[in-house]
């Protein structure tokens, strides 16, 4: 059995303390460092800045979610007047917005609608859409391709500022009293509520602005993948992370402009009443739904494809095996991206003709095929692998479990006859939380653990991370599984009041949300502890074979690599290559039996 130690290519540094400084190295005093970060065009710093911004927004959206769940702890709405909330927001924020321009927030039901919308808008537009691509994608894509940066670094920085601007608009809309349209901004709610107030306009503007940030990132990634691969690296030599991000980036570029024009028309409609979505003037509110979902359904795959991208990396490394069916996994990303554009009608089964509904139902089932291809390939990869249990690999396994539930319940909703009963119930809520949170967020948190040593050069406390995982995993299932049951029993979504029959499910769900909150808190503490007192990370602590681990220091130097890396082995050739840059003796050549399934 061959044991290989600290193998390096000649000339590569063992640690970040070579003659090249790590990208995290401070350039001077406090203000110099701040200015350096704020004006950087380094994709790694921009990725970290995105990560911080997104996690902050995740916190805000999470607080809103906890508030929603807390309200649902009892069958009738808690407060009949929201003076408490009004005073709280009013006093804290009257500095920014004069009281008379704030829309009055009425009784409890309306507060509930606003908090629920706040949760939805923040989580969709500010967290999940940018989550993995903008933070980890930015950081990792050039490293994995062996490039020094993304194709357009200044555009990359611009996208972060545009994201910031969009967030400011969203937060101002919330301060002004919030929006009660739901995150989908359906007309006529969005054209008629809070008449005379600007909150809806500001919120829609925020989503419009955030679209540009998304386009900038997507465009950058597509060009980077096409033009900046390391010498010798062909399309099928790329890590599968890159394929997933690439598929998502294509959707970002091709779908986001449609939401741009939709929100622009919505703004015209609200401000000038041009009539496009207003039936009183001959317009058609259902047209808004078509426009909206023509973007927002593809964007569901902008959310999940990066999660799948992360999964392929983590699963291969968990099993320490060549990924099963590389090309199938790679092409399924493109298939998902392609199909995503022709299934939007399944969001409007009840507001379109029967023939259209049948066609969209059939097309919807098509998406299940490439998704299942991925899941089966991951499971086949795990088969006979030597599975390592770490916090990130637990997250990878959890994704398989939760995404399968989320995906399969999607088939229930795509079936017309069943959907008649299930649409607009908590079944839908549970379904998309199992996909969006059980899929994307779980993959995101797992990926942060996975690449944490690379990003910050520090290890974290494994026990803390695994404790956090179990709290999140159990909390998540406790929160959302009862929602399937109450949805199937007919509990409609978006209601603050319900009959006593649903009480037990709502209570379980709320208790679960507390557990989830505690879990994320544990993760936060683990990360803070790691930054303050974490052990120094090796360049390749997990023994991976992609370029960011084998050829870059932890954390990487400012220009990523000492020399432009040359592609020499596949990203998952664990059976023939011993991972370099790792602890001596930690990883051994695989036994022949490990190579059973390929």
């Amino acid at each position: 059995m061959a044991t290989i130690g600290d193998i390096r290519k000649p000339g590569e540094p063992a640690h970040s303390h070579g003659h090249h400084a790590s990208y995290l190295e401070r350039k001077g005093g406090f203000w110099t460092t701040i200015v350096d970060w704020m004006t950087t065009v380094d994709h790694k710093k921009i990725g970290v800045m995105y990560l911080v911004a997104i996690l902050f927004m995740f916190f805000l959206g999470g607080v809103a979610a906890l508030a929603v769940r807390y309200e649902l702890l009892q069958p009738t709405v808690m407060t009949t007047d929201a003076s408490g909330v009004r005073q709280l927001t009013g006093q804290a924020l009257s500095i920014f917005v004069p009281a008379e321009s704030r829309s009055s927030v009425g009784p409890g039901n309306q507060v509930y609608n606003r908090v629920m919308t706040m949760h939805g808008v923040i989580m969709v537009f500010l967290v999940i859409v940018p989550s993995i691509p903008a933070s980890l994608g930015n950081f990792l894509l050039p490293l994995m391709l062996g490039a020094r940066d993304v194709a357009f670094p200044r555009l990359n920085l611009a996208s972060w500022y545009v994201y910031l601007l969009g967030s400011i608009f969203a937060i101002l809309a919330i301060i002004q009293g919030g929006v009660d349209t739901g995150w989908t901004f359906y007309t006529p709610y969005s054209t008629t509520t809070d008449e005379g107030h600007w909150n809806v306009v500001w919120m829609v503007t925020a989503a419009f602005i955030l679209g540009f940030s998304s386009i900038f990132t997507g465009l950058n990634f597509v060009v980077t993948v096409h033009k900046l691969r390391a010498p010798g690296m062909g399309w099928f030599d790329m890590p599968l992370f890159v394929w997933g991000i690439y598929g998502a980036a294509i959707i970002q570029v091709l779908a986001t402009p449609v939401i741009g024009i939709t929100l622009l028309l919505l703004l015209f409609e609200r401000l000038f009443h041009i009539g496009v979505f207003d039936p009183r003037l001959g317009g058609d509110p259902v047209l808004f739904q078509h426009f909206f979902w023509f973007y927002s359904h593809p964007v569901v795959y902008v959310m999940i494809l990066p999660g799948m991208a992360v999964m392929s990396e983590m699963i291969a490394l968990t099993a320490r095996k060549q990924i099963f069916g590389y090309r199938a996994v790679a092409f399924s990303s493109l298939a998902i991206a392609g199909i995503s554009f022709i299934v939007w009608g399944h969001h409007l089964f009840t507001s379109q003709g029967e023939v259209a509904a049948v066609i969209f139902s059939a097309l919807t089932f098509l998406v299940a095929i490439p998704s299942a291809v991925k899941v089966f390939n991951w499971i086949a990869t795990l088969y006979k692998g030597s599975i390592v249990i770490k916090a990130w690999s637990l997250y990878a396994l959890a994704f398989l479990f939760l995404f399968s539930i989320g995906g399969l319940t999607g088939l229930f909703l795509g079936t017309l006859a069943v959907d008649l009963h299930l649409h607009d119930t908590y079944f839908v809520v549970a379904h998309f939380h199992y996909v969006m949170m059980g899929g994307t967020i779980i993959a995101f948190i797992g990926a942060i653990h996975f690449w944490w040593p690379k990003m910050f050069g520090k290890m974290y406390n494994e026990f803390g991370a695994q404790l956090g995982f179990w709290l999140v995993f159990i909390g998540f299932n406790l929160t959302f599984f009862p929602q399937f049951i109450m949805g199937a029993h007919g509990m409609p979504r978006r209601y603050a009041n319900f009959t006593d029959d649903f009480l037990i499910y709502h209570q379980l769900s709320t208790y679960g949300s507390w557990l989830l909150g505690v879990g994320f808190l544990v993760h936060l503490l683990t990360f803070i502890h790691s930054l303050v007192a974490g052990a120094k990370a090796l360049p390749n602590p997990w023994g991976a074979l992609t370029l960011e681990w084998t050829n870059a220091a932890s954390p990487p130097i400012e220009h990523n690599f000492d020399h432009e890396p040359v592609w020499t082995h596949g990203p998952y050739d664990f059976d023939t290559v011993i991972p370099p840059q790792t602890r001596p003796g930690e990883f051994t050549l695989p036994r022949p039996a490990d190579n059973g399934v390929r």
Binding site: V253, F268, H273, I274, V276, D284
Partner: protein, 237 residues
Amino acid sequence: MATIDTHNPADHAQGDGHQPDLSLPPHERYHAAHHFRDSNHEFDAVKMGVWLFLSTEVLLFSGMFVAYAIFRMMYPEAFIHGSSLLNWKIGLTNTVVLLLSSYTVAAAVRAAQTGNQKWLQRHIVLTFILGTMFLLIKVIFEYYPKWQEGKLPGQFYSYPYWVSPAEPLWWGVYWGATGIHATHVIGGMGLFLWLLIRARKGHFGPKHYNAVEGVGLYWHIVDIVWIFLFPMLYLIH
């Protein structure tokens, strides 16, 4: 991303250990950004980025085209009557103006490729003037009179001689589509000012004309969108 050697040789002496020859014009001294292998590599990437951006523009306008198609199907009389109130001669004049500007911008790219600095600047200025003409014709002969007569979208509509109650919607589509297009023309003119400033500094030449090429492509898409808007709004009866 693009760097032109400044007049301080020390900056670059550090980077790649090579001293720029300051007697050469800036476009001769151009180095690709550090993450590209050379300036051809950069040019390819920039061009691909611009094409992707153009696809987003097409998709943006496609929303307006879809809205037009649907409402035309729902209210044919309103759209036919509304269209008959537009003067196709003005629309045609503007089409010619934009086509001419497409020629001048293509000629500007050619001038950059051949290193003809004088005609590069002249063609940029000509394109800018043609863009201004387009906007002036639009505002003086179309937007302003229609504003006066109340041919306005939605609730602002006050033109008394309508044949279909959906005509405010037609004007909504008209103002929306042409307004978004005009915004793109204004944006393009800003880009031409930027190109002119850079061209006067000698930034563009045979080895480096990424920006001229990119803005040129953008201007063509603005032109093409109008080529579709013109028959759709003015000619189909």
